[in-house]
């Protein structure tokens, strides 16, 4: 179901022609560049500097080998991303498609990380091949999950989110245990355009030209794709051939950008949208203007970034584009709420249990076993140990709080995930789309900047405050649309991107809290104390007992907005209450084990998969599944690579991610 979520009156939104837009941005960028360059070499000496660079003085060297290639690479990367974004959006008929939302950047990045850590020789010869292979795999996973063309824009974005989360978890583990590479990897991930020669430019330029030519050749068939598969086929176009070619070009081009300069977020999203808002309606026009506009936009962004020094360095360009682009996602797509009903992505259970509560009690038994194992079975220097009653002191001191925290967080995330999925009618939704965990992370990040030597109390305070603040913002943003799921999801994605960009930058700058930040963000129960664990357990208990209050709403809401309304439900009020409840639960879980809420995505599915469909048993079963996953993950995380430990959230994502992708791929 293709949903056009762009405003219908496209041409009137921006009262400038694409040409004017490009000219003004490029002009501004040129102005800044000239100012920067004349600070280095007076304009009269530019020809000398260029011709005699190698023998020249330092300023002319910088002029030729640092500043000029930086300008060139910013233009090339921007153009490439603009072109790739346009192609992707055209082929997938999805205005939200772009390299970052489709997992392409993350895939390329992970492949490069793996190569760097384990097979560095690969990078000497095929840096790009590695990146493209990773990008293709990630994109394939996203398409498989979202069922490519047929899926709605939001499901694609959410599938991208899942894939990004999984791949991010893998990168996280890889980096956590190779921390001497830490700053290196994060510097590169945050998208820095510093250049030290022309090699990146020479790498990217021919690829951009090739991609551009191929896409021009493909213009006609691609334009027909607007009719949808059936329409195009009935006009005699064989989609089977053109679609993969166009996708391949777009993916390869974006992977090349990642290989050359790292992740530059949102350019691929914003540029095609802005170009068509400026009136480039036909595909051919868009294919011409998008690269031009993308190039000038990134050029300008990069010049602006260089105007503001932060300490000894500047904001990474990729972080800047994420900071600017994320709000754009919200501002530019107001038409979304008029789009068709929320995409009904769901996994109908193969069977349905007649007695769901029996399954729930069996789940409870499994949870009991997991708890017993997590508490009693451990390792010590001699090998395995089983703690008896007499070791209660030891168990209480070292495992009790962690297990209780994992249990509570799993319960909270299972409940919140079920609520979100039922409320949005979308099985790809997870608590993190509310932006609450991102908000909490933002608080932790801010804390590491403001107060480097912080303690647990201030961490809790900061995360709670910022989680609350982001909740208020999210609710305010989506109140006018009666908390429409689409709005919530977009806002969550936007906030998540900002947080990812900021945290990458902070980790790259190498402050002393960076390993803390990394391990907190990967869902470790290591630092949990009894105080926090008990607090989380209280929140979890209250939530569990309050969940029947929501059950009826959650039964009816999946029927869709109009049915729910005609049954007399006050949609805004119900969604508002559910969103607040979810936010509180997510915040409670995030404060304990960090923002990795993969459990919130998987647990409701597990409950569904065994055949539970009514809201109340679904909530309870998901809570049990979530807590079982977290307890097991915490336990195994302590055992698998003893005496080292794998953060519970990370382990859950490492196992749950692939499982979830397979599940989604197999659904009929």
């Amino acid at each position: 179901m293709p949903v056009n979520i762009l405003p219908t009156r496209n041409d009137r939104v921006l009262r400038v022609s694409p040409g004017l837009l490009v000219l003004s941005m490029a002009g501004l960028a040129l102005l800044f560049s000239v100012r920067l360059l004349t600070g280095l070499v007076p304009i009269a000496e530019w020809p000398d500097a260029i011709w005699a660079a190698d023998g020249g003085d330092v300023p002319s060297l910088l002029f030729v080998y640092s500043h000029l290639p930086r300008i060139a690479i910013s233009i090339l990367a921007g153009a490439a991303l603009g072109l790739a974004g346009t192609l992707l959006q055209q082929v997938l008929r999805n205005p939200l498609a772009e390299p970052t939302t489709l997992g392409i950047s993350t895939g390329a990045q992970l492949a490069l990380v793996i190569a760097l850590l384990w097979q560095p020789w690969l990078l000497d010869h095929g840096r790009e091949t590695v990146a493209i292979a990773g990008a293709l795999l990630a994109a394939a996973a996203v398409f498989a999950v979202a069922r490519s063309g047929q899926s709605s824009p939001l499901s694609l974005v959410m599938a991208g989110l899942v894939v990004n989360m999984t791949l991010g978890a893998i990168s996280g583990v890889a980096v956590l245990y190779n921390h001497e590479y830490l700053s290196e990897l994060f510097v590169w991930q945050s998208g820095r355009l510093e250049q030290s020669g022309w090699s990146q430019v020479l790498f990217l330029a021919p690829r951009l030209v090739c991609a551009f030519i191929v896409s021009l050749l493909l213009t006609r068939p691609l334009a027909l794709m607007e009719l949808g598969d059936e329409g195009a086929q009935s006009l005699g176009l064989r989609m089977a051939g053109f679609r993969p070619v166009a996708l391949l070009v777009a993916v390869a081009l974006s992977a090349s950008v990642v290989a050359a300069v790292g992740v530059i977020a949102f350019v691929g999203l914003a540029v095609p949208t802005l170009v068509s808002l400026a009136g480039a309606r036909r595909l051919k026009e868009r294919l011409l203007w998008a690269p031009a506009f993308g190039g000038s936009l990134l050029w300008l962004a990069d010049q602006l970034v260089q105007q503001v020094a932060i300490g000894n360095t500047t904001l990474p360009t990729g972080v800047a584009t994420a900071l600017l682009g994320a709000p754009l996602l919200l501002v530019l797509l107001p038409g979304l709420r008029n789009a068709a009903a929320p995409p009904a992505v769901s996994f109908a259970a193969a069977r349905r249990l007649d007695r769901p509560w029996l399954a729930v009690s069996m789940g409870l038994a499994v949870l009991g076993l997991a708890l017993l194992g997590a508490l009693a079975v451990g390792k010590t220097m001699g090998g395995w140990t089983v703690a008896g009653v007499d070791a209660a002191d030891f168990v209480a001191r070292w495992r009790g709080a962690r297990v209780l925290a994992a249990l509570s967080a799993g319960t909270l995330l299972g409940l919140a995930g079920t609520m979100i999925q039922r409320m949005t009618g979308n099985a790809l939704a997870s608590p993190e789309i509310l932006g609450i965990s991102s908000g909490a992370s933002l608080g932790a990040i801010a804390l590491t900047v403001v107060l480097p030597g912080f303690g647990l109390a201030s961490l809790t305070a900061a995360t709670t405050a910022s989680a609350g603040l982001s909740l208020i913002i999210m609710l305010a943003v989506s109140r006018t649309t009666e908390f429409s799921p689409q709005r919530l999801i977009l806002a969550g994605v936007a906030l998540g991107t900002i947080v990812a960009a900021l945290s990458e930058m902070l980790i790259a700058t190498g402050g002393s809290s960076r390993t803390f930040l990394l391990s907190w963000m990967s869902g470790s129960t290591y630092r949990v104390t009894w105080d926090t664990a008990i607090a989380a357990a209280c929140i979890a208990t209250v939530s569990l007992f309050a969940s029947p209050l929501f059950a009826r709403w959650l039964d009816v809401l999946p029927l869709g907005e109009s049915s729910a309304r005609s049954l007399g439900m006050n949609i805004g009020q119900a969604r508002g209450c559910i969103a607040v409840a979810c936010a509180l639960m997510t915040a409670g879980a995030t404060i304990v084990i960090g923002p990795l809420s993969f459990v919130g995505l998987v647990a409701p599915h597990l409950a569904r998969a065994v055949g539970i469909s009514r809201a109340l048993p679904h909530l309870v079963a998901a809570a049990i599944a979530g807590s079982t996953i977290m307890v097991l993950a915490d336990w195994l995380g302590r055992l698998l690579i003893f005496p080292w430990q794998i953060p519970a959230g990370l382990l859950a994502a490492l196992v749950g991610g692939p499982y979830f992708l397979v599940l989604m791929w197999r659904r009929a």
């Binding site: 009156r9 769901s346 259970a349 009826r552 039964d555 999946p558 869709g560 109009s562 309304r565 049954l567």
Partner: protein, 281 residues
């Protein structure tokens, strides 16, 4: 064209539950897709809503069902402004079946029908014996007893339609708003469903507004027919007033022949030479 004949008409209140629509219009993206429309629908009667594709039938129905806010104008239900009613109170009075019934994965038919009781028990109230009885009654009435234990999404289009209708019946509202309830049904089931609707209207003394594309069905089962054209009210009246070649041409833009059936009913057929060229766009 007057409909409300009650003595209370002067005060704007109908004797039986009714809608009073005044100057209602709906703008989407600067385009007027409905209205301004003024009309009154009095119960207990079956009102057929007809018109060409895109004439605004669904839009009008959605506005009546409070699914959508009108851009201008006011609507009174039972003498009370529509937006002043609490949502659950409103749902006890007015039930709505959308043109496209939503996809409900894994939901059983009996559960779906039981949702019809939501306006009565609300989010927290008990599902009592009264609710139970109404649900059973609705299941029996709509003849879906055979598949109460099946998942809704495994049913055929027609079976599904009847299940949704059963949910509306269980809702026990004073007024049913049905958007093309027979679009997916075979002729026998079309007759069955419309008879059911009619029986219900008479037995429970409720009013029904039903969007229909089949003018003959409308003529046969409705007490009154409301015709829309390009978002405007074109005609309102009993079947005998609407079933004339003249008004049918105005409604659908093609020439039709009207036959009187021996039983007193009407049947309309396009004239052999009708080309549809005049169909409204």
């Amino acid at each position: 064209m007057t409909v409300c004949l009650s003595v209370r008409e002067a005060s704007g209140v109908c004797a039986a539950p009714c809608f009073k629509v005044e100057g209602v219009s709906c703008l989407v993206g600067g385009r007027q897709i409905l209205g301004p429309v003024s009309l009154a629908l009095k119960g207990p009667q079956v009102h057929g809503l007809i018109g060409h594709n895109g004439s605004g039938k669904s839009t009008l129905l959605k506005i009546l069902a409070r699914q959508q806010r009108p851009s201008h104008g006011s609507i009174l239900y039972d003498g009370v402004a529509l937006d002043r009613l609490d949502s659950r109170i409103f749902a006890r009075k007015v039930a709505y079946l959308p043109q496209q019934t939503p996809f409900a994965p894994g939901l059983l038919v009996k559960e779906l029908v039981a949702f019809g009781r939501y306006p009565w028990h609300g989010a927290l109230g008990r599902f009592g014996s009264d609710d139970r009885r109404k649900v059973d009654e609705a299941i029996e009435m709509t003849g879906i007893t055979a598949f109460v234990n099946r998942a809704v999404d495994t049913l055929s289009g027609g079976e599904r339609q009847r299940c949704w209708l059963a949910m509306l019946v269980a809702q026990d509202a004073d007024c049913l708003l049905l958007d093309e309830p027979i679009a997916a049904l075979d002729i026998a089931h079309q007759i069955e469903v419309l008879s059911l609707v009619r029986r219900l209207a008479k037995a429970r003394s409720i009013s029904v507004v039903v969007v229909l594309h089949d003018i003959n069905m409308a003529a046969r089962f409705c007490d009154e027919i409301v015709a829309l054209h390009s978002g405007k009210l074109l005609a309102q009246g009993g079947p005998s007033e609407i079933m004339t070649p003249d008004s049918l041409r105005r409604i659908y833009g093609i020439d039709m022949e009207v036959f009187r059936q021996p039983g007193g009913g009407f049947a309309a057929l396009p004239e052999p030479g009708a080309s549809g060229q005049g169909a409204p766009r």
